[in-house]
Structures are given as C-alpha cells and as structure tokens.
C-alpha cells in the first residue's frame, strides 16, 4: 500500500479515529503508515502556532496596504 504523500493526520485528544486528509475528496491511499499527531490540545503547540499565524497576518496586512497605497511604510 503506497502512502499518500500529502496526508497530514490529526488525532484530536478525544477521538483517535478522526483523521483529516487534505486530499480528502477521493484519496484512495491508506493513511495508517503516515500518521502524524497534531497536538490539537497542547497549549504550547497552539501558542507557537498562534505566534506564527500572527506574523503571517501581519505580513498579509502590510502587503495589502502596500498594494492599496504605493508608499505607506511605517515602523513602530
């Protein structure tokens, strides 16, 4: 059985059978051998994720501002 390369599995703390595959719509491959736990309930992991997401959101807002207005770069 070949593995689905772009599978990323979530196991929530409460339901170990819950898996999510990005190519859900008809991914025929078995995913057992490619399981990776995403620590949905881990506060540290969530905190790290939130920090990264914050940087992304910051970036996207600034990018959008740049596109909307030619030159408005201000650094706090």
């Amino acid at each position: 059985m070949s593995e689905c390369k772009d599978t990323f599995h979530l196991q929530s703390g409460t339901d170990p059978n819950r898996v999510v595959c990005p190519s859900q719509d008809g991914c025929p491959k078995t995913h057992e051998e490619d399981i990776m736990d995403i620590p949905l309930d881990d506060p540290e992991a969530n905190k790290a994720a939130a920090k990264i997401q914050a940087s992304f959101r910051g970036h996207m807002t600034r990018k959008k501002m740049k596109e909307d207005k030619p030159r408005e770069e201000v650094k706090a």
């Binding site: 995403i38 939130a50 914050a54 990018k63 408005e72």
Partner: protein
C-alpha cells in the same frame, strides 16, 4: 490638535484619565486574562512617529469621526509593523465582547498606549521563533515542510486561519514538490 492624553478612554468603560482600562467584571472571554492597566504604559514614540501613526490610523477611519472600530485595531497595528495575536489585541482593548468589537470606536489618543504596549512586548516573535515553530513540522529534517501540512496546521491550531487567508499566504511559496523552505518563507514573511 495637541495629542493630549486626557481623552484616553473614550471607548472604554469610564473616561477617567487615571485608569484607562479596568473591565474586571466582564466574564465574556473564555480564557479571560486579567485586564490590562494601560495607565501605566508610557508612550515613548517620537512626535514624528506619532504623526505617521496618526496618518495610518486615519486611513482606517471610514466614518470620519477620527476614530476606528475596535475590530480594526489589529489591522492598524499590523500595518504599523507589529504582529500581535488577536488575543493580545483583545486584551489591550480590555477584553471587549463581540458586540463591542464590532460597534465600539477608539480614538487615536487611546490607541497609542495600546500600540506602545504591543511594541514593548518582550515575547514578540522573532525570526528564530518562527523558524523553530515551523521546524517542528520538518519531518525529514531538511529545512522544508510540506505545504499541505502547513495548511492544516494553520487551519486547525492556534488562531485558525481561513482557507482564503491560507491560500493568500501560500501563494507562490511551494516548490514543484509542494514543499516550502521555511527559513526562506519566514524571511519573506518578515520582509514586509
């Protein structure tokens, strides 16, 4: 108009100059952190900086009352180079309810100490923080993460991003194998 600090708390509970935000009795937020006392924050921006910030602030004022909505504050801070989490923004706003986020408006003088607080945050993310955060998902230890994996993380952990946000972020970042070199990615993110 001179940037007096008097009118600080227009949106907040009371307009007392001394205490800006003490919304203690509002158990609206799930993981309610203690309310922040902004009156202790000393605004250290130079007049030039404040001019710039005021201008950016003005861009967000769609009503013309020299104020912005609470739910715009995060974006203004981002526009000014900061990367606060949504939770941090809510905290400096005094943990408003969803209704207040949508309906309350904030004037510039009240915004400044909030911005200063965010700027002063010692826990601000650095290049290394972000790289190390992403390295967790580097299964092969080769400096790359699968775009598909990152998409799932971004959409399920932390302050979940929407698919549209993720698409916008990831545009042009994955190589032909669907991989992302995360150091390069973080550099790119931080360059703007």
């Amino acid at each position: 108009m001179a940037p007096k600090k008097d009118a600080k708390a227009a949106p907040a509970k009371k307009a007392e100059p001394a205490k800006a935000a003490a919304p203690a009795p509002e158990p609206e937020v799930v993981a309610a952190p203690p309310a922040l006392d902004l009156s202790t924050v000393k605004v250290e921006f130079t007049p030039d900086q404040q001019e710039d910030y005021k201008e950016a602030f003005g861009l967000f004022d769609r009503v013309g009352d020299a104020k912005v909505a609470y739910n715009q504050v995060a974006d203004i801070m981002r526009a000014l180079g900061q990367n606060p989490t949504n939770k941090e923004v809510r905290k400096v706003l005094g943990n408003p309810s969803d209704e207040e986020m949508a309906g309350k408006r904030l004037e510039f003088e009240a915004f400044l100490p909030m911005l200063q607080h965010i700027v002063n945050d010692p826990n601000k993310g650095t290049f290394d923080d972000y790289v190390e955060g992403l390295r967790v998902f580097d299964k092969e230890g080769n400096g790359t993460v699968m775009g598909a994996e990152l998409r799932i993380v971004l959409g399920t952990l932390g302050e979940k991003m929407t698919e549209a946000e993720i698409d916008a972020l990831m545009q042009g970042q994955e190589d032909e194998n669907g991989s992302i070199n995360f150091e390069a990615f973080v550099k790119h993110i931080m360059s703007i």
